[in-house]
């Protein structure tokens, strides 16, 4: 077991932490940030585990995947933030209406 796994575990931690925040916080900005924290966890895990064999160069494919993922995350975040502002203009608050329990 090397320190690589430590990073990967931190990634798992970030993922669940983000999931918790996403469920608990009603404010949309927090939800968007929570999604980003989750995403960072996934990217961290993806990149960290690419360097498991000691003494070799890290695997470039997960790096490329993480870059792709980051660009997707930026795009999604920008869209979400713009949508959040529209929701706030339209409803007066940046929260989703309460879910009627079924």
């Amino acid at each position: 077991m090397s320190h690589v796994f430590l990073y990967a575990l931190v990634g798992v931690g970030l993922f669940t932490l983000g999931l918790y925040a996403l469920i608990v916080h009603p404010h949309l900005l927090r939800k968007i940030l929570a999604i980003n924290v989750m995403g960072s966890g996934v990217f961290l895990m993806l990149v960290a585990l690419g360097r498991r064999t000691p003494g070799t160069l890290p695997d470039p494919v997960p790096h490329a995947m993480a870059i792709t993922g980051i660009v997707v995350a930026i795009s999604a975040t920008a869209l979400a933030l713009a949508l959040m502002l529209r929701v706030q203009v339209e409803t007066g608050r940046a929260e989703l209406p309460e879910e009627p329990l079924e």
Binding site: L49, V72, T91
Partner: protein, 482 residues
């Protein structure tokens, strides 16, 4: 001549063409409608050519960049992906024609590039043989879908779109974490290679759970359906049609590929669980649909129910069962597109979609109501229609595998659908207290709705061809003899 056609890389072209269309529609928004319709026709022609190629030469693997898996990305077209491409092309063409009359100039210039991006994403998704590439196409599809839903301004649409966006991103992240685990377990993201190298391990179980959960959320299987009705109902009519007909099916398609190829269905308990959720979705969606007072919400809840049918095939796990589910998927795509289009016409005509105030709309919009009724026939599963064939195949699979109780769900679901279809049709004949403030509905919008409904009916009359397509490349071969 055929040899020449078979040499062309149609798989690449059906992805590049909508992308080029999106760019063109974005650059010249004044010509958006024309450019969009030309692209739509082009895509349909190219999908037809790809279909011919696959029919003649069998399933096609295409190594993008010439590298081949695992280094590069592969595209793969077998009967299953071809069928999805064809249904996307048919419904997409209908929606394009409908939209050319639906949107005003201001909204049209946003609609067309977004719709072309969505089409590109769908084609890319159905052709991809690489799970990381599937993640990218999923995101492309999700963001396009969210922006399209938000084209209707107003609180309902915006909050619906916002919730949809969060759900969609969450689902994608679950999927991506699964992809990461699979890549680091087997050193590849190619579906065929993963299937070859697959051996059970905790990481594989985790990946399977994460990816399935993410995709179930995106497919809106009960009880993860909470986001679907508001998003689908508040979107503009052609967008609602796109969402219900195609977008939710895309994540189901990925789920199907994963379960059939990467994670072989050895876990019977999990399959039974998915079947139970499907059954619950059929009943719950049907009951909720019956309770709605707004037409578009009603249709959206019926989508929740119809998604449930697709999951009844998991516990049956036989070739006939899969074919039945796929047949329901195809006919639901056409029928639900027709229904949302008809609802859009009614909304355009009368300015509202309150079911109780439909006010003899049958006299004013006979074509749209006919389309609604014909689509209803397929949704209920009455012969002759695609919905009937799908349910029949599922029933046969249920009886053959001695799990007759799933048959009861099929029948109950059909009765519930019948109840709400007749309720709507009934109100369409009844005069209401508030008369309509009538606006003229363009003929293209009426005929597009009718054409989609006829596709759903014709699927019940010409069954051999779609069923034969499903056998190309034997996508269901791993699933016993049925």
């Amino acid at each position: 001549m055929p040899a020449l056609i078979f040499d062309i890389h149609w798989q690449a072209i059906v992805i590049l063409l909508p992308l080029a269309g999106a760019i063109a529609c974005f650059l010249w928004p004044q010509r958006g409608v024309q450019l969009g319709l030309i692209s739509a026709l082009g895509i349909v022609a190219c999908v037809a050519a790809l279909g011919w190629q696959v029919l003649e030469l069998g399933a096609q693997r295409y190594a993008v960049g010439g590298w081949g898996a695992p280094l590069g990305i592969d595209l793969y077209a077998d009967g299953l992906s071809l069928l999805m491409l064809i249904v996307t092309a048919v419904v997409g063409l209908g929606i394009s024609v409908y939209s050319s009359g639906y949107f005003n100039q201001d909204r049209a210039r946003h609609f067309w590039p977004l719709w072309m991006f969505l089409w590109a994403a769908l084609n890319a998704l159905f052709l991809s043989a690489d799970i990381f590439n599937l993640y990218v196409s999923l995101e492309l599809m999700g963001l396009a879908a969210v922006a399209l839903v938000a084209l209707t301004k107003g609180a309902d649409a915006l909050t619906g779109a916002m919730r949809y966006l969060l759900v969609s991103l969450l689902g994608s992240l679950f999927f991506l974490l699964g992809v990461a685990l699979l890549y680091h377990s087997f050193g590849s993201v190619d579906i065929a290679l993963l299937a070859e190298r697959m051996e059970p391990s905790p990481a594989v179980w985790a990946a399977m759970g994460l990816m399935s959960a993410g995709l179930l959320l995106k497919t809106a299987l009960f009880p993860l359906h909470f986001w679907l009705p508001p998003a689908h109902a508040s979107a503009p009519a052609p967008v609602s049609a796109l969402m219900s007909a195609l977008v939710v099916k895309a994540s189901f398609y990925i789920l199907l590929r994963l379960w059939l190829e990467i994670f072989p269905l050895t876990n019977a308990a999990l399959a039974q669980f998915l079947g139970l959720l499907g059954a619950a979705a059929v009943l719950w969606g049907g009951l909720q649909a019956l309770r709605q007072t707004r037409l578009k919400l009603l249709i959206a809840y019926s989508t929740v129910a119809q998604i449930g049918y697709l999951f009844l095939a998991f516990p049956l796990a036989s070739i006939i069962g899969w074919k039945g589910a796929l047949y329901i998927l195809l006919s639901h795509a056409a029928a639900k597109a027709a229904m949302f289009m008809a609802a859009g016409n009614i909304l355009h005509f009368g300015g509202h979609d309150r079911i109780a105030d439909l006010d003899r709309v049958v006299q004013r919009l006979p074509l749209s109501i006919t389309a609604f009724a014909l689509a209803g026939v397929s949704i209920m599963g009455l012969p002759p229609s695609g919905g009937f064939i799908g349910k029949w195949l599922l029933l046969e699979a249920a009886i053959r595998s001695a799990q007759w109780w799933w048959g009861i769900i099929l029948i109950l679901g059909g009765l519930l659908s019948a109840a709400w279809v007749f309720k709507v049709i009934g109100y369409a004949f009844t005069p209401a207290e508030v008369p309509h403030e009538a606006r003229v509905v363009p003929a293209t919008m009426e005929w597009a709705a009718l054409a989609m409904a006829l596709v759903a009916i014709l699927l019940g009359l010409f069954t051999s061809w779609p069923l034969a397509l499903m056998d190309i490349g034997l996508p269901f071969a791993g699933e016993g003899d049925g």
